[in-house]
Amino acid sequence: MSSRLSWFILLILVLGFAFLYGPMLVLITYSFNANKLMTLWGGFSVRWYPELLTDSQVLNAAKNSFVVASVSATFATVLGTMAGYVLARYRKFRGRLPFSGMVTAPLVMPEVITGLSLLLLFKQLDTWFGWPRSMGFTTVILAHITFCMAYVTVVMQSRFSTFDISLEEAAQDLGARPLKTFLVITLPIVAPAVISGWLLAFTISLDDLVITLFTNGPGSGTLPQLIFSKVRRGVDPTINALATIIIAVVSTGVITSHILMTRAERRRQRDIQLALQSNK
């Protein structure tokens, strides 16, 4: 399978990965720079870390971001799982084409357009119904649910379309009602996909800036909003420290989940092997 890679491909791979990881290494290195400016190396220091972690503005924004991301991801996962199920299972129903269009469009829609349109919707609802009075947690969360849902839908649709329906049919033959079949058979089997969908929605919500800028109000500012307002004025050493923390947390999380998933997959393969052998 693996034919010899040409030197050209190898060179591009090396340069490509250097390009992807170089800037992050620069950020990490300079977060330990004693000098306030990024221009000169002033010796090794961890002074920016305590400064960052005692900044109440940063801590408050981080808390807001976590609240918004966890609530949005949870609702987006429920809605996205439903939408993915519908697209994978119900091959024909009236309005399927516009439905699949609405589901995938937010994936590529420029964020300024989504953000502006949601804000104008909230303003319009306010003039018609007197709700929402002002922008804040509710409006940001509603906005985040809507665009995170698209990502969960894609994950769940591809999971459901490779699902072995005979398992559900067996449960129903044995007398389980559709809802019970879903909860006892379907959901546990697709649970890993649901978890990765939730994590994806959580990270995307945590990372969003533009849609949040439009739909957020004072008092519920998120971490990206704070970072943006700081770095607009130029390079800031505490942001280097924050970036290093984010990169460390994300790398640990992604690598750990990769190892766990590879192990689970290996165990599953082994179980299948054993089952096949014992049948002989």
């Binding site: 890679l5 491909i9 591009i12 791979l13 992807l20 800037p23 992050m24 620069v26 950020l27 300079y30 990024m38 221009t39 809605l79 996205g80 439903m82 519908v86 697209l87 119900y90 439905f99 699949s100 609405m102 589901v103 995938t104 469009a105 994936l107 829609m109 420029p110 964020e111 300024v112 357009i113 989504t114 502006l116 349109s117 804000l119 104008l120 919707l121 319009q124 509603l142 649910i145 809507t146 649709q157 591809s158 379309s161 945590l206 990372d207 800036l209 990206p224 970072i227 943006f228 770095v231 607009r232 390079v235 924050l242 970036a243 984010i246 994300v250 790398s251 999380g253 992604v254 990769h258």
Partner: protein, 315 residues
């Protein structure tokens, strides 16, 4: 009535809901479709209709800052296409459109030129290496987008890491001016969107039937020619998907021009935001947004077509 509620209260909740739904003539299947459907109608489709409506309105200094053209409390003005005419009359808007399209298109081509060989290389590695390299492509995507753009501010600045290194090595005498120029924006877009190009290309190249290439070589075809006449045409869906995933969002990019492009970088996404937030000109901002959408409708539909095909293929 009282007995009815106690009767229902004794049933489990799921059964009760089922009962109510049946009474309303709502099958479970319909309910499962209806919930996400209505959500998207309310929070995705309705907002666009409101943008469209406001794009025809006239700006005033009031709360809200426009007079509606239609609907309750409307004060119709004479020129329906007021804001759209301004869009064509004012060179600012046309220039912003043109430079956004140019930037998005060129960045997409650069992403493809870097991403294709990378995806190809990863797809042809041994399975364990492949999984690791793929993880390395996805990892930057999980870390903050904003932070990755910000990293380049420290690298490309006049006294940034790049200039300092080049000067220390004696390669250049005076610092290069890269930050706050179009070059910095190209670097920023290619850097942040490269994983979006590589992933669909990889997914496509990995599935490719290598026996086709072997057959071509057995018949005397040179590797380079086999690559051009077999690999590239077969990976066409991947090329399209990756390119659209880069091109469409890049057209409306706001953060990258704001942080790396400097004050003179007039990009259309930035115009939408500034018209809205700084000039408080909601109708103009809405009109610019509608014009972007009209431009992107065909690419977006193309993306959906390929997306649907890819989702239905494994069946």
């Amino acid at each position: 009535m009282a007995t009815d509620t106690t009767y229902q209260g004794s049933l489990p909740l799921g059964r009760q809901l089922h009962h109510i739904a049946m009474k309303l003539g709502l099958r479970p299947r319909t309910a499962v479709i209806l919930v996400p459907y209505l959500w998207l109608m309310l929070f995705f489709v309705a907002p666009f209709l409101i943008v469209l409506k406001i794009s025809f309105a006239q700006t005033i200094i009031a709360q809200p800052p426009y007079t509606p053209m239609f609907g309750p409390g409307s004060v119709p003005h004479e020129d329906l296409l007021l804001n759209y005419n301004r869009l064509f009359d004012d060179l600012l808007y046309i220039n912003a459109y043109w430079s956004s399209l140019q930037l998005a298109f060129t960045s997409t081509v650069i992403c493809l030129l870097i991403g294709y060989p990378m995806a190809y290389g990863i797809a042809r590695c041994a399975p364990t290496t492949r999984a690791l390299l793929l993880l390395a492509i996805i990892l930057p995507f999980w870390t903050s987008f904003l932070i990755r753009v910000y990293a380049w501010m420290g690298i490309l600045g006049k006294e940034g890491v790049l200039n300092n290194t080049l000067q220390a090595l004696g390669i250049i005498d005076a610092p290069l001016n890269i930050l706050y120029t179009p070059v910095a924006m190209y670097i920023g877009i290619v850097y942040t969107y490269l994983p979006f190009m590589i992933l669909p290309l990889y997914a496509n190249l990995e599935k490719m039937d290598l026996s086709l290439l072997e057959a071509a070589q057995d018949l005397g075809c040179r590797p380079w020619k086999a690559f051009c006449v077999i690999t590239i045409p077969l990976s066409f869906p991947g090329i399209i998907a990756g390119s659209l995933l880069v091109f469409i969002p890049a057209v409306g990019e706001y953060v990258i021009p704001e942080l790396l492009g400097g004050p003179n970088a007039l990009m259309i996404g930035r115009v939408v935001y500034n018209e809205f937030a700084q000039n408080r000109d909601w109708p103009m901002s809405a009109a610019v947004a509608v014009a972007i959408l009209l431009l992107l409708v065909i690419p977006i539909m193309l993306f959906q077509y390929f997306q649907n095909k890819a989702q239905e293929a494994p069946k």
